[in-house]
Amino acid sequence: MSKLDSKIPEGPIKDKWTKHKNDINVVNPANKRHIDIIVVGTGLAGGAAAASLAEMGYAVKAFAYQDSPRRAHSIAAQGGINAAKNYQNDGDSTYRLFYDTVKGGDYRSREANVYRLAEVSGNIIDQCVAQGVPFAREYGGLLDNRSFGGVLVSRTFYAKGQTGQQLLLGAYSAMNRQIGKGKITMYNRHEMMDLVIVDGKARGIIARNMITGEIEKHSAHAVVIASGGYGNVFFLSTNAMGSNASAAWKVHKKGAFFANPCYTQIHPTCIPRSGEHQSKLTLMSESLRNDGRIWVPKKMEDVMAIREGRKKPTDLSEEERDYYLERRYPAYGNLVPRDVASRAAKERCDAGFGVNATGEAVYLDFKSAIHRYGTEKAHVLGIHNPSDAKIIELGEKVIEEKYGNLFQMYEKIVDENPYKTPMMIYPAVHYTMGGIWCDYNLMTTIPGCYAAGEANFSDHGANRLGASALMQGLADGYFVLPYTIGDYLADDIRTGKISTDLPEFNQAAKEVTERLEKLINLKGTKSVDYFHKKLGKVMWDKVGMARNAKGLTEAMDEIKQIREEFWKDVRVPGTMNELNPELEKATRVADFLELGELFAKDALHRNESCGGHFREESVEMDGEQEGEAKRDDKNFAYVAAWEYTGDPREAIMHKEELTFNDIELKQRSYK
């Protein structure tokens, strides 16, 4: 019997959320101000939750490791946010968004959660517009949409290539209003170091003031973890340098199950790495695939000529190019989902067709789009028989309007002009679908501890569709958590303030201090980055885009070994009681070194290919889908939720069986 109760409401899927909202307990407005809620992380999920909870009357304490909530990494999301508004009259609906998301996630997400996500998606757009988020508009003044990978309708709302920034600034402005009113107490440059459990319930956190080094005790009636994903376990990823798994991992070690850690999204359109010095990878929005065509040369001699600088990509004729996505997936072409596009790039590069010196790059070409838009624009302007030069000039302007900031970013990094020569791209770690297990109310297996946004596991299954992360973060923060948390807190109206003098707080603070002291006092010979890079290499080589049993078994041992070496030989300069970035990194990497092992263990146990998780042992052998990933619904249609037992490799798995009543399990075909 599973220990997991997903608390999915009864009834038809389209009525579940409405019924649930009617059934759950609510807290009377007068009582809310006596209830404290801690929110860790101020990205879209945390920021939206903190603002909404404070508006409702709760006393909120919000924590961010950055110097402002506005800097959370949600800000870097570029492309857009999905919503089933059907403004384009292309047949979109709540059901279609639900269907696309479940299918895109390769049938490994919880149906009821995804339906709710689709259901509230429209409210998000209404809310953001009301906050003054400047979404792109058409000339008639109505909102514009674009299409995104893995779907056949245009449902993505965007603000140039800075959608995440604008949505986060919306949530940030809502937070600021509440901070100004004293309803949110904001703790910037504070890092959560541990969760405090009293009588089996989450009752607070231990945080470190990153300026003074002071270890602080903060109590609350509920704790929300909205600290994002764990992509930095790979060292190189598109995550921010500070993005970390520590809050989530600490909660896991205190009893919250960690679900599907192996589901990682490797994003296809990133700027290829250039050398050993590289500290992070840069993503360019997937929206580029709307207009860019992906290719490598057909002939190996052209590949060599390009690598050696004897030929330029623009020298190759159409016939000499292999538009491999259009060739393999005629129905979706360049708009296949991310996992499919990434693996296809890897396949071509592994076969030797990579177009840069490292052999890990493919082209993303805008020539056709520039031509198409230029011709269209010339027509609109009434220019008859426009010259090629005129068409290109007009077309480039249209492309600049759509993707100007991305093109500029590319040029700054690579030092090539992408209007004139195709971009080079390669997949990079971008998002983690796995995360803390939570029920329909977003509560973890620890009573009173919630997980929202990328930090939880629930909505994206094994692969996330483009423009769905922003949707999920804001759905959780604005429209789900504020309702569901009341159901739990209704029992706490008589509890009164939680004292931070309780022995549980002192014990947790003591353990945190001892761990930090240990790191400082090790005085080893190698820097934190040395270990982080070593871990990242194992993760990328053996737990990356393609995985097999041998590699995963080796990875588990190697990660354990790196962890042991870390705890013997890491050098953390400075002291505990000061601003000490190396100490911050050390605590985060120590957690990654544990998480990485569980990650590999989960990938090893899941002997099927699904979404972002590709097992070389599980591939279609024949038929139209030959060479494509092979899912195994008979044996693996479940969520693997891991319970910590003191050592990541000894974690115990609990299964949440996934049942699909409203959607038929099919092979995902984009051909």
């Binding site: 909404s52 950055q66 402002s68 506005r70 800097r71 959370a72 990494h73 800000i75 870097a76 508004k85 403004y87 509230v120 409210n123 209404d126 809310q127 953001c128 517009v129 009301a130 906050q131 003054g132 400047p134 792109a136 508009r137 003044g141 109505l142 909102l143 603000a159 140039k160 800075q162 920034q165 604008q166 600034l169 940030y172 402005s173 600021n176 901070i179 100004g180 904001m186 910037n188 300026i211 921010a240 340098m241 050398g275 010095h277 590289q278 500290s279 992070k280 970013m409 700054k412 990094i413 030092d415 604005y478 820097s527 050098r571 300069p573 400075g574 000061e578 601003l579 970035p581 190396e582």
Partner: protein, 250 residues
């Protein structure tokens, strides 16, 4: 390339601080400026010295966390970029590079190259919002059409990343461009009209309280702004402020 670095070191807010000289070798021209500082820190750690503290996070020019005054310019010699997007190809072998924190009374140094930009937070808290609660029942997003040119203008203003380069580069340490960006964004949108007057009055009042200087229209902020926020917005804020002051009934 090999470089000489003159880096501002300051133990904490109370320390006087001063420039230290470091040599760094074999820096790739393809690496970013912050990756060069990563190299320096790795070198310092291996020598048993304390690494240089600097702010950074997304490393793709959008979070606004990184700062640095490089050779006398906020975010360094390149235009339209943040420090994290600055590449070493902008420098030559043998160069001496001065690296200092953003300097302004309203941005006190916390350590080495890290400053406290809490003053920006308080300005936003004073009025950088539209007073609307979360609700599943706000009006439909398309119920209120907004002319594309106005929406585009609002977007141009909204791209501010709050890094503080405008303040650091201004000889008066003025925060006008930062405040103007937010005031202008909402002034273009119908949603922002209701609180339009109080917003500009409150935000400017807080700006003055924080100790930022006045604007003398030198335009240096616009030049150094990594997001190209236009000086026009300052003019717009001045007009907003004037009209709010005159028409303000109380």
């Amino acid at each position: 390339m090999n470089l000489t670095l003159k880096v501002w070191r300051q133990k904490d807010a109370k320390d006087k601080g001063g420039l230290e000289t470091y040599q760094i070798k074999e820096v790739s021209e393809h690496s970013s400026f912050l990756e060069m500082l990563d190299m320096l820190n790795e070198q310092l750690i291996n020598e048993g010295k304390e690494p240089v503290a600097f702010d950074h996070d997304c490393r793709e020019g959008i979070c606004g966390m990184c700062s640095l005054y490089i050779n006398g310019e906020a975010h360094g010699p390149d235009r339209g970029v943040t420090t994290c997007q600055l590449h070493m190809r902008m420098f030559k072998d043998g160069d001496t590079i001065f690296i200092e924190p953003f300097r302004s009374k309203a941005f006190p140094v916390l350590k080495d190259l890290i400053v406290d930009r809490g003053s920006f937070e308080r300005i936003q808290q004073a009025g950088g919002f539209i007073s609307v609660n979360t609700s599943g029942n706000t009006q439909d997003a398309n119920a209120l059409p907004i002319a594309k040119p106005m929406a585009d203008k609002a977007m141009d203003a909204a791209t501010c990343i709050g890094c503080g380069a405008c303040v650091a580069t201004c000889k008066n340490s003025s925060a006008m461009l930062f405040v103007a960006a937010k005031v202008s964004q909402f002034s273009y949108l119908p949603q922002g009209q209701i609180e339009r007057k109080e917003r500009v009055l409150n935000m400017v009042e807080q700006m003055d309280k924080e100790g930022f200087g006045n604007c003398t229209n030198t335009g240096a902020c616009e030049v150094e702004c990594p997001k190209g926020i236009s000086l026009e917005f300052i003019a717009r804020m001045n007009s907003e402020y004037l009209s709010a002051s005159i028409k303000s009934e109380n």
